[in-house]
Symmetry: C2
Subunit: 167 residues, 2 copies
C-alpha cells in the first residue's frame, strides 16, 4: 500500500501485506493459465485434470506404485483409483503386479498413454516456454527458487527426488 519502492529498505520491500497479497493473486491467475491449455485438450476427450496429473507422474517415474503416486498427487486412494481404472480400461496405462511384493501394482504408460501425455505436456510446455522466454533466465531462476520455498517439506522432498531421478 504505502512505500511501493522501498524507502524503508530492501528487506521489508517484499514483505508488506500488500506485496504478499499481490503475490497470491499472481499465483491464482498464473495457475489458471498454467492449466488452461491441457484442460482445453482434455475437455474434448472424457478426461480431466486428474488424468493429466496421473499421466505426468507415471511418465516421470515409470514403474511407480499406486501408493507412491498417491503421495505425490496428494489425493486419496479412491480418487486416484477411479482415474487410474478408466485409463487402464482405455489402454493408456498398464498396471503390473509387483515381482517382489505382489501386493504392489507398478504403473507404466502404454504407447497410447505416452502419446496423450506428450500431447498434453507439449501444450503446457509451450506456454511455459513463452513465459520463460519473455521473463528471461534470471527471472526463471527466481521463479523456481520461490516456488520451491513455497512447498511443504514433504512435497519438496518429492520434487527433488523426481529431479534427481532424471538429472
Amino acid at each position: 500500500m504505502t512505500d511501493p519502492q522501498g524507502s524503508s529498505g530492501e528487506t521489508l520491500l517484499f514483505l508488506t501485506d500488500e506485496q504478499l497479497r499481490q503475490g497470491a493473486e499472481a499465483m491464482f491467475f498464473a495457475y489458471r493459465g498454467f492449466t488452461a491449455d491441457p484442460d482445453r485438450i482434455l475437455a474434448g476427450l472424457s478426461y480431466g485434470r486428474a488424468h493429466h496429473r496421473a499421466l505426468h507422474f507415471i511418465h516421470a517415474a515409470p514403474g511407480t506404485t499406486v501408493n507412491n503416486l498417491l503421495n505425490t498427487l496428494g489425493v486419496t486412494k479412491q480418487s486416484l483409483n477411479r482415474v487410474l481404472r478408466t485409463m487402464v480400461e482405455d489402454g493408456l496405462v498398464e498396471s503390473r503386479v509387483g515381482r517382489n511384493d505382489r501386493r504392489e501394482r507398478h504403473l507404466h504408460l502404454t504407447e497410447a498413454g505416452d502419446t496423450l501425455e506428450r500431447q498434453l505436456s507439449n501444450a503446457q510446455r509451450a506456454r511455459m516456454r513463452a513465459a520463460y522466454k519473455q521473463a528471461g533466465p534470471e527471472a526463471v531462476a527466481g521463479f523456481r527458487k520461490v516456488l520451491e520455498s513455497m512447498m511443504d517439506p514433504e512435497m519438496r522432498r518429492q520434487y527433488q527426488r523426481l529431479r534427481e531421478g532424471r538429472g
Copy 2:
C-alpha cells in the same frame, strides 16, 4: 532431455523440455503448498476453497458486482451463486442494490466476513512471507515476472487492474 546444462548457450538453457517439465512440477507442488493453510482452516467450517476465493476478491475490490466477480474467478453464475448465497445467508457477505443501475448487486464483506477473510489470508501470507524471505528479493522479482507472463492476456488485465486499484 539432452543437453541438460546448456552447451548450446544461455538462451536455450531454460528451454529444454526437461527444464520446462521441472517448472511444471514446481508449479504443481507449490500451488498445493499455497492453498494448504487456508484449506485446513476451511475444512473445519462448512466452506471450501471457492468461498475463500470469493472472499478474497470481494475484499480486494469492495462493491464489485456479481458479473465482475464472475469474470475474475472464471466460473459460471450458478457456481458462484451457490457459494455466494450461503455466505450472504451466513452474514459474511452483503449484497447491495446498485444506486445508478439498480439491476446490479454490489458485494461487500460484513465484519464477520472481513474477520474470516483476514484469518485465511493471514495463514496464506505467512507461508508466502517465509518463502519470499528464504528466496530473497531478486528471486521474488523473477517469480512475479514469470507468473505474470504465464497468465492469459485477459487475466493479466484483471490482475493489473486490481494492483492499480490499490498500489
